[in-house]
Symmetry: C2
């Protein structure tokens, strides 16, 4: 982190929120056009006409900036961090156990609203890129057995999780929407685990 802006302009500079928003807009545009991996903080800073340090100052890591760009109001490391410590045989349960209470919370409301707008026709390339590049790399690399299956294993997991979001928060099916987060997590856990480490039919 840096106190770059504060040095130049003491106090909250006029127009700082404009600058933050401008950074975010260029981040969305570049992440959307080039994907997560191929977009650098530097290129976003250049596009927004600011110093790279200012981008870090406002948004932290590239992952955190990405999360802000797609309106995820938490640091993805809150989920990715604990998952790194989790044995692969337990991810099927730990992943929904982390996500459900988050989605159920106030914080989750913004996320659901964003998902809704994305599903409704907004540009999905950012979410696709997040799922394909961030999540697939994080988890897919650990369940890549047989080799090459990791990405698709993770995507089957994603399909179940996004379906839970739609059924619970958008369609609000009853009794599904009123089940406790623990009930949902425990019920889908064996299915997620099968996608991650179970034997799947040969895919074509």
């Amino acid at each position: 982190m840096t106190d770059h802006t504060e040095r130049k302009r003491p106090g909250r500079p006029p127009g700082a929120s404009d600058t933050r928003e401008r950074i975010l807009e260029h981040a969305r545009e570049l992440f959307s056009r080039n994907g997560f991996d191929k977009t650098s903080i530097r290129s976003i800073a250049t596009a927004a006409g600011v110093d790279g340090a200012l981008v870090h100052h406002y948004y932290g890591t590239k992952q955190q900036l990405f999360a802000a760009a797609i309106h995820i109001p938490i640091d993805p490391m809150q989920v990715i961090g604990p998952l790194r410590e989790t044995p692969v045989d337990e991810i099927g349960l730990v992943l929904p156990t982390l996500l459900l209470p988050l989605w159920d919370s106030e914080i989750g409301k913004g996320f659901i609203a964003t998902l809704r707008s994305l599903l409704g026709g907004a540009d999905v390339s950012l979410v696709r890129s997040f799922l394909q590049e961030v999540i697939t790399v994080e988890i897919g690399s650990r369940v890549d057995d047989p080799p090459g299956s990791g990405a698709v294993r993770v995507q089957f997991v994603a399909s179940q999780l996004v379906g839970v979001v739609v059924a619970r928060y958008i369609l609000e099916l009853e009794p599904f929407a009123s089940l406790s987060p623990e009930s949902i997590a425990k019920t889908i856990a064996p299915n997620l685990q099968r996608y991650l480490t179970g034997e799947l039919p040969s895919l074509s």
Copy 2:
């Protein structure tokens, strides 16, 4: 069926398409307000100012009218019919084997577009009603073991299926979106079957 209109007004009557559309609008309104079960063809006909026989003539059964109201371009019986003949132990495979090719087809495009608009913020009460009243009654009653679990079993199945739709047709995740329909069906089948007839944790 009846040839009611034809008797009264030979040839294609002027304004027939207006009448069809008016029936559909009132059907949407009533299904949306009162749900599937509590809405009768007669009440829709009355609201639209036409004879009940005309509604049947244009749209067939109440299920077919409902499908038209939510822009499902096929008769739900194309799926529900074969399922009735399917032993419950095989529904986990038969259901996605029926649905995936349908979703992949030209017909499916209209369905995906509708789902997209629903997810995007349009009134979801019709889809909710379809899932809760039609599908839950059709399938839930056959997998209601222990008693009372049928509805939620079906809704877990729905969550996985809607997640496949989102991942494959809206997010277009790769390689997921390019897998054959058979691959998707076979991969999710054991998971759907577990939701339908497997032992689930006690739900609260």
